[in-house]
Amino acid sequence: MNQRGKISSQTPQLQLHSPAPYHSLVFSISKSHSQTRPLRFSQPPLTLSGSQTLPAAVALPRLSPSPRLASTLGFTLNPRVASPPAPFSWPSMAASDAPNGDVLIRNAFGSVLAFLILLLIGVLAFSIRLFSVIKYESVIHEFDPYFNYRVTQFLTKNGIYDFWNWFDDRTWYPLGRVIGGTVYPGLTLTAGTLYWFLHSLNIPLSVETVCVFTAPIFSAFASWATFLLTKEVKGVGAGLTAAALLAMVPSYISRSVAGSYDNEAVAIFALIFTFYLYIKTLNTGSLFYATLNSLSYFYMVCSWGGYTFIINLIPMHVLLCIVTGRYSSRLYIAYAPLVVLGTLLAALVPVVGFNAVMTSEHFASFLVFIIIHVVALVYYIKGILSPKMFKVALALVVSIGLAVCCAMVAVIIALVASSPTKGWSGRSLSLLDPTYASKYIPIIASVSEHQPPTWPSYFMDINVLAFLIPAGIIACFSPLSDASLFAVLYIVLSVYFSGVMVRLMLVLAPAACILSGIALSQAFDVFTRSIKFQLPSLSDHSHIDARDASSENIVPDDTIKTDKSEDTPKERMTKRSKKKEKEPVEKPPTKFQIKKRLSVLPFEASIIAVILLVLLVAFYVVHCVWAAAEAYSAPSIVLTSHSNDGLHVFDDFREAYAWLSHNTDVDDKVASWWDYGYQTTAMANRTVIVDNNTWNNTHIATVGTAMSSPEKAAWEIFHSLDVKYVLVVFGGLVGYPSDDINKFLWMVRIGGGVFPHIKEPDYLRDGQYRIDSMATPTMLNCLMYKLSYYRFVETDGKAFDRVRRTEIGKKYFKLTHFEEVFTTHHWMVRIYKLKPPKNRIRGKNKKSKSKTSSTTTSKRKGTRRNPF
């Protein structure tokens, strides 16, 4: 539970349920160990929570014979902890305080206040994400959310069994895609459940509305989960601060604004909540929480591929605990059920399936699983043998163990080596080796969110938290508990991963918030306390209590951070021993700190520091609101620009998709670069060749090849794929930079990677893709150039491209195999139709000509590995 006694008494409703499972469990353990030396006692007493004190106190007499053991395990026993045997658990303590009405009211007030703050944090987390709805509209954003939206529509319409069996023939034509088996269903099922729940109450919200608001709702949940997690690490104050920080951290806002209906929106909640339950289990040793932890992990596996972060971070933490001698039965309970149940549950998710035991991402957890059992066995044997016997046994076991380990390692290496990518998926490999993707897999490198972030993006996404994190880490080290060790490990790992891939900033954000929350809350604690006890009005009754004499070993408080957990047992003790006194409970610790340590900072310095901290936080809030309102609220399917004559709206994407959906045949196939695949299927309801689920590189390369081929060759490729319409995005008229010409290099690269007749140097002049008069002939004749710039010169007479800031190279040309059927108002989307094939017999002359051309194409077809 939490380390601050005073707060835990203020929030009895949060912990009422915990004693029951906990006590029964702990008692069974202590019974089984009753005849042995109490190994269980080697847990760090400083992290003991209220309930944990109970077994500690009960078993105290048995502890004294083996102080040596405890010290070898790296703990210094605090005699204060165990001195007064406490017969009740903590909540009943609070009840026994009942005569002290003042305390009760204060406690009740504190918990109500904390509850209200949490409620407000939830409201803040929800409402800061509504800028997109207010500034734009309630609409699904970007690319991936459209797919999720479409899947949710299918789910709500056809039910869960059809969803699992859904074979989608609207995409990856002619291959199709097994949606049920290739999608992380967590988000979809969550929104679907929400939808069914609302409709069972006769609240007729549309699927779209539910989807739009799923992310903000789960952001509120995520900030509550952050509160719980940080409370486990450093107490309620830090928890509230961290929750408030997370509620508006820009990195998370970027993925969870209203309408950003993506996996990460619910996955971050699941991630934090899983960590919370892990720490909770670690702190309580309760199997109940361990089971919840597995379920939460299961939800995370359902939601996002990032679950591998959990299944690697937790084993690393366990390993670190074991190495630093922090092994305890609680650690075992926290870890072993998670691996067993979690892996079983994870294998139930179709998209994971046997990957849960077969890919290298999961091996770390199994290895640590073995290690923790070995360690547990060692402790057990140590407990039943005499020290001498133990040494003999150790020698024996180590030699056998080494042999077994060698065998195991050999087997694992053989297993790993037998799989083609050494058991690692491409994305995971690029995590370990940041240059891997750009070297070998253009399709991964071409995704913008897979690029490494720049320094400004750190400042943009976590802002002042970046400077608070080091302070938070220091706070975690004084003192170090299992939980704070976890926080430190979490931040270190997530900083590394975020440096590899900009998308993983999202994993860093909660860690940054937790540590900054700890740092801020500790700093405020010190400063406000310094101020409080130097105020003349208060200093009168800051007399020294007699009980201060009993508290000798309070850690000096020179740094900004205080160690709350150090205070905890002390507070509890003082409270217990003096509970008859009508003194406010929370006063004493601070009081003797001021007297004994003189750790308080100068009055003026404290005030200035508080003001500076408030300014820092204010800056953070301003930045977050700005980021939420300006940077991350644009839905990207509708663009706006402010000019002198007011707001201008560019709604071209939807114009094109609406046109496609109403004015083409329902079974027509539309080819476009894969970026627009999800939107075309969701908004236009037309079959696409490739989409944003880039599972088939060859197929994408085929489209890339077509786009970079001359018109006739492209027509043949498209015709072989039954394509009727080709959609290109062109920003040259209005200056929309992420158009297809700017993405063209990836089409050439990915296409050339599979079909060698597409050579990147053919498109390059001086190492650059150019479309001006210096452009290569291959470039000027490729389909993408032609479709983008067809009749562009007639708009202004010069054909000036506003994105590339140049006049185009070839201005007047005709299309022979394609026909413009629709161009949107600002020319941002242009749709062309494939002309029907010409009649074959047209006199001898033409016939022979067509023959030669067909032979050349067939020759080319021979070299191409076109699967169709």
Partner: protein, 468 residues
């Protein structure tokens, strides 16, 4: 008005037989004759308006109180509305008194002819005359030819009619004027005397035409007016006694003119707006009631950003554009929704019932609605709904479950096909409602929250642990 194809064949057979068996049974129809008939056909839009002025004289001995109007099968199929009025007074002080028009059957008409009966205010005695003004509206009667046009061509259509008024009576003298939208008339059938001047074609005068004379004519002319047809319009009017009437209109719009052929070039459409795509349209205008609020215009993939609302105290006008200009054959769907203050539309009748007074029809100007479904969602707990409409519609009841409903809301569904702007007349839906039902949902919510708190409190005070 309502087409009844399954009736027509046996009925006309019967009529045909009756022609031989009872040649003199309904002699009164022949007692009338039309002294003068003047027909003005307005072809300027795709909604064809025909103004017919008839001067009727009773030649028979018995008083006649009914005048029959005859329509050919092709006309009858596309007939949207027939209105008649009696005129009295001279030019300046002319007054119009609307007359009752009913669908009728006459035994002696040619096959497929459809009749309407106009009931006169006072029956005509022998030798008396009366002047009738008839307005009827035809939809889908302009046939594009050529059927497909490119972006640069303008739209040409056929109009088929008869030079001579189809009538069950003897017509002494008649003239037909046809007004075309432009002077470009490719061809027209000449039935002497016929002449063309500017945008007007004149057939007649023809004299002494026997009953059921028919002389088909074909006019081929240019018509670039937007052929905006709403294939289906679903209007949902939801009444909340908390002070709001919420209207949601779901449109399925199509350009019913000559189909677009070949390429659509944006550059031509933008640079030469008056030479290309002349028959296409991109603006639509909806006339909404005054004091309209929270207007939205969207389709299934989000808001459509091009709209403009002008409001004043008499009316509101919503000018909006579909996502893309509509060329022939192109379709679009969208939703318009708005809220209205309840007190302007909901009233209490003297017998204690409440009634909604709202406008039937489609708020879009110059549009034909092929099928209009109008749903009036009454508040939960209302009973005995009855609808009062000046013309015939299909009615039935439905149940709709909306926010936190338990027993559901009664929905009065009115369906009508072939609706033109002339159908925008008020109609009433009467129902009984007990105001106590207004409190049902707030009470439900409060009880739920109260129970939640009670549960929380009892949970916090109960010791659920197994071990004491």
């Amino acid at each position: 008005m309502e087409e009844q194809p399954h009736f027509r064949v046996p009925l006309s057979l019967l009529l045909f037989l009756s022609l031989f068996l009872l040649p003199t049974s309904f002699s009164s129809t022949h007692d009338l004759q039309i002294l003068n008939a003047e027909r003005r056909i307005d072809l300027t839009s795709h909604i064809i308006k025909v103004y017919l002025t008839l001067k009727v004289e009773n030649l028979g001995t018995s008083p006649a109180s009914e005048v029959h109007l005859a329509f050919s099968p092709a006309e009858a199929e596309h007939l949207a509305i027939v209105k008649a009025a009696a005129t009295s007074g001279k030019r300046k002080k002319k007054t119009y008194i609307p007359l009752d028009v009913k669908s009728a059957e006459l035994p002696d008409g040619p096959n497929g002819t459809k009749f309407f009966t106009v009931t006169l205010l006072t029956s005509l005695n022998k030798g008396e005359t009366a002047t009738l003004e008839v307005l009827y509206i035809l939809t889908h009667s302009l046939e594009p030819f050529p059927v497909e046009i490119t972006q640069s061509e303008s739209q040409l259509v056929y109009f088929r009619d008869s030079a001579i008024l189809l009538s069950p009576y003897h017509v002494k003298e008649q003239t037909t004027f046809i007004k075309t939208p432009s002077t470009r008339v490719e061809s027209f059938t000449v039935v002497d005397p016929a002449k063309r001047a500017g945008t007007e074609l004149k057939y007649g005068p023809y004299e002494d035409q026997p009953p059921y004379s028919y002389s088909p004519v074909l006019v081929h002319f240019e018509n670039n007016n937007p052929f905006a047809v709403v294939e289906e319009l679903e209007r949902e009017i939801e009444i909340s006694h908390w002070g709001n009437v919420q209207v949601t209109e779901r449109y399925r719009l199509v350009h019913a003119g000559a189909r677009h052929k070949g390429a659509f070039s944006r550059v031509e459409y933008q640079t030469r707006p008056d030479a290309t795509g002349v028959s296409s349209f991109k603006h639509l205008l909806a006339k909404l009631p005054p004091k309209v609020h929270s207007v939205y215009y969207r389709d299934e993939i989000g808001n459509v950003s091009t709209s403009n609302l002008r409001t004043d105290y008499r009316k509101s006008e919503l000018e909006f554009q579909p996502r893309y200009p509509l060329f022939g054959g192109w379709k679009s769907t969208f939703v318009i929704g708005y809220g209205l203050p309840l007190q302007d539309f909901l009233f209490e009748s003297p017998d204690g019932r409440r009634y909604l007074n709202f406008t039937f029809g489609c708020p879009l100007t110059q549009t034909v609605v092929d099928k209009l479904i109008l749903k009036v969602v009454l508040p939960e707990g209302s009973k005995d709904p009855t609808a009062v409409i000046p013309f015939q519609v299909d009615q039935h009841l439905e149940i709709k479950y909306s926010y936190l409903d338990v027993i559901g809301r009664t929905v009065v569904v009115l369906e009508k096909s072939n609706v033109v702007p002339e159908h925008n007349v008020p109609f009433q839906v009467y129902y009984t409602f007990n105001p106590i039902f207004m409190l049902a949902e707030p009470l439900m919510l409060s009880i739920a929250i109260f129970l939640f708190f009670v549960a929380s409190v009892s949970y916090l005070h109960a010791d659920l642990s197994i071990r004491k």
